[in-house]
Subunit: 351 residues, 2 copies
DNA sequence: TTGAAAGCGCTAACAC
DNA sequence: GTGTTAGCGCTTTCAA
């Protein structure tokens, strides 16, 4: 039933098919695809239409064989919260391999070697850089990587600026949503553990919490707010302080899962049941959140998806750069999700 | 100083270079590379020598352009312990993209849909399958995937057999090493939490523990051995039983990190310090191990590396299969590592 | 058992 | 602005 192709060929549309349909030469199609200059507006449109109609996409093998310089992207990470890092890797590796982009991964531990690490990557000829979480918040690191003219994207962190493409969830909105959820459950004394002060997201999460409280007409009580550092250990300390309060909170919202897990541990140590005696919520939905018991209600950032987006955006920038154009630095917002699990309940004395 | 290549070209050796050096045509070289039949022994040797001398390796882009059927590997996973899964993905994606192998990933949740999931992959035209951890231990799943004649590799799990290529650490040796480490610290009453009974590794770990005890002349006490299921929750229950013993253990060795983390939680809840009042060790070195406090002493399986190996072995098999040869099913052992962190110490009353 | 020719899909170089 | 030509490195087909 299947007609054998003349020789081989995958069956999908080629650049010549597009050229024929649009009434131009393959070369012109190639120019359009690669954002090359010097193509008449009308020609470009016709070709784009043909591309769409044929659902054409260039064959990467042919492309690389024809000698285009491959796109290389550097990924700089540090302090690997294993779960976060691997989501980043999964997402970016996946997309990179799909669109045939080389990914060079390097670890960098500021303050020691961030300069070297960045320079090392640049020497390896990367055309753009992805900066992962704690790194995008270190001004020195950002300064170093934005020195050259390669585009840089900050993944889940960093302040939107003219130097940086950023991809974030709306931390304010997310913390706001979680706090509102807690208020909806009936909580009035809601403890909050702030994240590491060096990360911009920490402040935004705190503001979201404050705003939700204010909107509900709940007076702010500064004693309910403790500083943490995104580590389990800092969560332990903060939780202890919170639970030692004369009137302890009925719920604690920690700025990440590690600290939330620590709150659960402290509660248990004190003979408190979670969630019946204390509601605990986290942020990030790392492996932690669903491995401990009870499983944590938390905010999920689509890290893998964001990493994919990062690769895409960076690739677009690099291509634009090669074609001599320049795109404005974009600041993308990804959708968060409130994941309700078993660590939250109405406060005990509510009715 | 650099002489511009005539037009482009990467500079590395091509099939023609090899052909010229060996004194044959590119075609014959191609045959040798692809394991094709009909090449004289002496010719083959000469060409192989030339390949080696030039350090030649075929250009995958050219290859795929020339229309060889791409190698497609299916990866079947379930019950994603996020950390484990992403290590698997990172390793396999990385290697697959490097050697230009397509990886098709599918989730499968037995007992519902393992048959469909496997068949779905096969329909997508995969030439071989990787089975990740809990799956390789389910006989029904193994039966289904080995029905056809595609090669299957079991990654970190499964019983070595004629149907399956397996890649494992030596669970017996690893558990043995950890137990010995604990004994070396001075512990005599060492609790053990067994992993899920459906996974073959659980039994091997238990045996390793037993053997080390026996070697040290420590009489086995069955009360110190509790059944778990690799979940945090089962670890909680097992730890409670262990700590309720008239003479509780001074150390607990859990068959994975999740359960070890649960032991730490129970200890803390009971006012016990880890490691000073109780030593706790895990297995796997997942994110958990280094996120909680104290960080867990544990056994590390080089999952990502093992995944890379899996892709390589499968690819070799598929290539051999295509060339009409058949390799014996290999059973590879990867090296584990005992990661010493802060959750172990000599027993209190030792001196 | 080996080789020659042609072509996979694309783009760089150079016309026009 | 657009087209022509040639060739990237490999494999298939077919002939010797």
């Amino acid at each position: 039933m299947s007609i054998k192709q003349q020789r081989r060929g995958t069956g999908s549309a080629t650049i010549s098919d597009v050229a024929r349909l649009a009434g131009f030469s393959p070369m012109t199609v190639s120019r359009v695809i690669n954002g090359g200059g010097n193509v008449k507006e009308s020609t470009r449109d016709a070709i784009n239409a043909a591309i769409k109609e044929l659902n054409y996409s260039p064959n990467p093998a042919a492309r690389s064989l024809a000698g285009v310089e491959p796109i290389r992207i550097g990924l700089l990470y540090s302090n690997p919260s294993a779960a976060y890092l691997s989501e980043v890797l999964v997402g970016s590796l996946d997309r990179a391999s799909r669109i045939d982009v080389q990914l060079v991964v390097a670890r960098c531990e500021p303050p020691e070697n961030y300069r070297e690490a960045a320079e090392h990557l640049l020497e390896r000829g990367v055309h753009g850089l992805i900066l992962t979480s704690p790194l995008c918040d270190l001004q020195e690191v950002v300064d170093v990587v934005t020195e050259g003219d390669q585009p840089v994207v900050a993944l889940a962190g960093g302040k939107p600026s003219d130097d940086l493409i950023t991809i974030n969830v709306d931390d304010f909105e997310a913390a706001h949503a979680m706090t509102k959820h807690l208020i909806g459950l009936g909580h009035r004394r809601i403890g909050f553990i702030i994240g590491s002060p060096i990360q911009a997201a920490s402040g935004r999460r705190l503001e979201g919490y404050r705003a939700a409280l204010a909107e509900a007409g709940i007076p702010a009580d500064e004693k309910l707010i403790e500083q943490g550092h995104f580590t389990y250990r800092s969560g332990l300390a903060a939780a202890d302080k919170l639970m030692d309060l004369a009137v302890p909170p009925t719920a604690v919202f920690a700025s990440n899962d590690d600290m939330a897990a620590a709150v659960v541990a402290v509660a248990h140590r004190r003979g408190l049941d979670v969630p019946n005696d204390l509601t605990v919520c986290g942020f990030d939905d790392t492996a932690f959140a669903s491995s401990i018991w009870p499983e944590l209600t938390t905010i999920r950032q689509p890290i893998a998806e964001m990493a994919r987006t990062a690769v895409d955006m960076l690739t677009d920038e690099i291509l634009a750069h090669r074609a001599g154009k320049s795109l404005p630095r974009e600041h993308r917002i990804a959708a968060f999700e409130l994941i309700k699990r078993q660590s939250d309940a109405p406060p005990k004395n509510s009715r």
